[in-house]
Assembly symmetry: D2
Homo-oligomer: 305 residues x 4
């Protein structure tokens, strides 16, 4: 694959940058609302360790739901297939914070990326880890090779102060017996998970193991090959809320988005790509991020399909 | 990719054949119920035209819903992106014949593979084609290179005689204005589409264009590269009813199943594979077919993820 | 009860007539759409056979869904409590023609007044009656003491020609095994039932048996006292689509409305009242009819509550 | 109405007592679970102040949801029709603690008797009352003429300790902006409301104003005549969870049940009746209570229908 990635990145970056920048910046907490909506960065890292970047790729942003992939990978590593007793791997067909399906499915979240599922994952980690906060952070630092990553307590507390829907979800899960720990503690942990900040460069590097059969560039195994494949499959079918099908259709890469305007995606066997542009389309995914990826996979001619 | 496909096929075939054969054979019409539940065949065709088969791969079976991929590809070819004014590309999160989501979404089916969506596709073709029955059949014969394929009127009429749910769906769609032709005529056409019979060998050959960027082996373009990619994406997210996520997770290939026990799947850029084993798991997909594919992609180490 | 009904009727009629006449006339078939929207009539008949009327009370209109009370009373008479094996008596919480609840409840309609329930009742009658059309008509003529009532085939056929939703409902019911006869025949019968026309005077007289413990004025028993009470209870909780609670709250009389702008209601032990005004409020009930009844029960100080 | 109520009460009491006593005692908190399941008491109070009782009518029990009628009446008294900006008066068609409809209706509870609606009423009172706990208790003491009624903090705290579903409901409401105060405070208040204990004798007396056009026996107005009528209408359509229609059909009295096995019902213009028997049928209403009332209204020949 002798693609000239830098050239393509630059080219598409210019096109997307020149186009409109529609949508809104997430504003339910001040920490997200104050971000400059024109920020726009991209980094692509190949599995042979080439790094290509453009724009604001060195500035950290709140990765939010993208962090759910990391908590999932750790829980999966710890519990193996038993993890799926607590939640499913099917797309939900409903918005990410819907309680409807949860009621029909008696408290079993459809997948690990809707809020209910991600909260169950946090409950699993809260039980399994000896020091949940420290151990999760250590894991993320290890995967990302960024020893200075940390939780942003201001963001976490802001989320908490307006997180009525998530409190509802957590207690609803607990009413079905699918939360083992105190609802409040699990939620606090969940909000801290989502508060992590990375740059595109760091995020791209972090996700590389999913493009590389579960291994970090240095060959260290984070997940085994089957587990990595499965997480990619879940990202593919569930990673973009109820835009998952549309994203598969337009972009064709497994990935995960966050309400902070970030997206991480991988082409298994080839590369990991991270993008950041804060304005969100009506489905809650980065407007420019989705557009960039659509152009990018079309231009390179490579996607999983 | 120097994989020894024949050896792997044989090996996995023996394992799966030796294991249990659970589930039920679709029995709502006599024509499906009388099939020998022990039939089991597989054919894999690579894009460089190598063909590998095992078991009952030459016997024709009712491909049922697998035919929806073919009608979709023709409608997409004819209407292009305007097709998506009539239906979506998102997974449904509900059984294939549910009316619930259709009511909430005001008559716009979630995707082309749930019954409602496939019926809308048939309505599109019924409007667009001059001689719907002949033209659709000609198209399928052309894609498959099987000039002797034909509708099975006995199966089609049997389906019709018990197809209350589909009559309900079609009239429900029409009440929302999303069926242009007479409900009865569209449904008749739909049942004929699903009545087509192929062998694994024929089915594998038919689906090869989706593994080959939209082109038949002889280089003839059925769909352009973007369209082929998009149909693969839809198969990936919606091809296995509400087992789509689980199939992605276990198998990792875009594909489509039918109630007759058939499955067709592709690894883009590599091969098309067709399987047939009549017993269905509780999600309505071939029990042995899914199992075979899971072992197969694990063994070969190749999937889209 | 020495209420001067005529005076109150006249008084409220003048007030309501002087007020606005909002809403729309049902227009999905021409026969309903061409009605003069300013028509407005009321008749009240007491159980001691006093009759009070005002306005256009002698002109016949399409009673539509009000007829469902009559078919229900006949089916109940014929099957007794076994009728409730086929449908429930609970309010639906959904629009009258919703398929959602029907799917969750596996084909058992919530009550006899949503379309699904009324169609099941027609299926019951179609099985039980030797000559369904003649026998049902004879029954209605008998209850109403109007030997010249008849089906309006023009209206029935118009309904049929656009009745996609009802075809959907009927076939959906049949897919669950809750329709015994041919869907098309049951539906034809249902549309004829709804096509009956009465004047307010006739309709008021017809419903009198429900105010009179199941007996006609001449003492003849149509239903026993327990059955009459139960039909009133069902009208109370389910008679006004998803405005049932609001109607109970504002008016406080068991009753049934029709899309032709008619309403029939009873105060058990006292009177039956019928109203007609074609414009419908957003819930599908006669705008002026509901308003009149609200003023009327407030003015007389009598309701069931 | 010269009915010999005492004789009828005794007669039916004996019959029901001799029959089976099916169902379960609510056991989610110890305070309810330890009640003797054979307890059974009834009191009927007429609007001319005759009191008839049988069985364990002097023993206090946890009235639970029956108290929602009292909080509703106070909120209605305070806000008048503006109350209905915050919640509806339609039956829900779903279990009392469902979140599904709440999501579809964007946080507006269907009626004041499902948990979501009762919690909104508590929020209203928490805002409107200067000293919520004291003022609500004073109101209930006043209506009931029982100055020694009080909250049972043990029950309230037990409810709180397992009330995950209600925490979910309250925070879900708050996420839609339909809770003004702190979720936790509103819920604490709600659990205290439900913790009140009364005997059948006290409960029957308390509800008498609803049978008496809003006035206590001494002529004092609690609600005006229109408001009393409306609360009766809401009890009629929504008072028995998803057994409301069945209760209307079998019993024909507006009423409200509680998970402690109590029922209060009224025949407007005649009497108020309170019953207690702890075993609940599958819909969550007192098994013997419903049976008793069915026999009772049949025997007396009086109901609202």
């Amino acid at each position: 694959m002798q693609t000239n990635y830098q050239e393509i990145l630059n080219h598409i970056y210019d096109i997307v940058k020149a186009g409109d920048n529609l949508g809104y910046v997430a504003s339910y907490i001040p920490e997200l609302a104050t971000v400059d909506p024109e920020k726009f960065g991209v980094t692509l890292t190949t599995i042979d360790e080439q790094v290509y970047s453009v724009g604001d790729y060195q500035e950290r942003f709140s990765i939010q739901s993208i962090a759910k992939v990391l908590s999932l990978s750790l829980a999966y590593k710890l519990l193996g297939v038993h993890l799926w007793d607590r939640l499913g791997v099917e797309p939900s067909g409903n918005p990410f914070n819907s309680l409807v399906q949860l009621e029909y499915d008696l408290g079993i979240p459809r997948n690990p990326f809707i809020n209910a599922g991600a909260i169950v994952i946090c409950d699993v980690l809260y039980t399994e880890l000896e020091h949940p906060y420290e151990d999760l952070l250590a894991y993320i630092r290890h995967v990302s090779d960024c020893p200075n990553l940390t939780y942003n307590s201001i963001i976490a507390n802001s989320e908490k102060s307006v997180g009525y829907r998530n409190i509802a979800v957590t207690n609803f899960l607990k009413s079905f017996g699918n939360i083992e720990n105190e609802a409040e503690e699990v939620l606090e942990f969940y909000f801290h998970l989502c508060s992590i900040q990375m740059s595109c460069e760091e995020l791209s590097r972090t996700f590389l193991f999913l493009a590389n059969h579960g291994q970090k560039i240095n060959g260290e195994e984070i997940l085994n090959i089957g587990q990595a494949k499965r997480i990619n499959a879940i990202m593919q079918t569930c990673g973009f809320y109820d835009e998952a099908g549309d994203f598969a259709y337009k972009v064709g890469l497994p990935g995960k988005s966050g309400v902070g305007g970030g997206i991480a995606a991988v082409l298994p066997g080839a590369y990991s790509i991270a993008l950041w542009s804060p304005r969100l389309n009506e489905k809650g995914n980065s407007y420019r991020g989705v557009k960039f990826l659509e152009f990018f996979t079309t231009k390179t001619g490579h996607s999983i399909f």
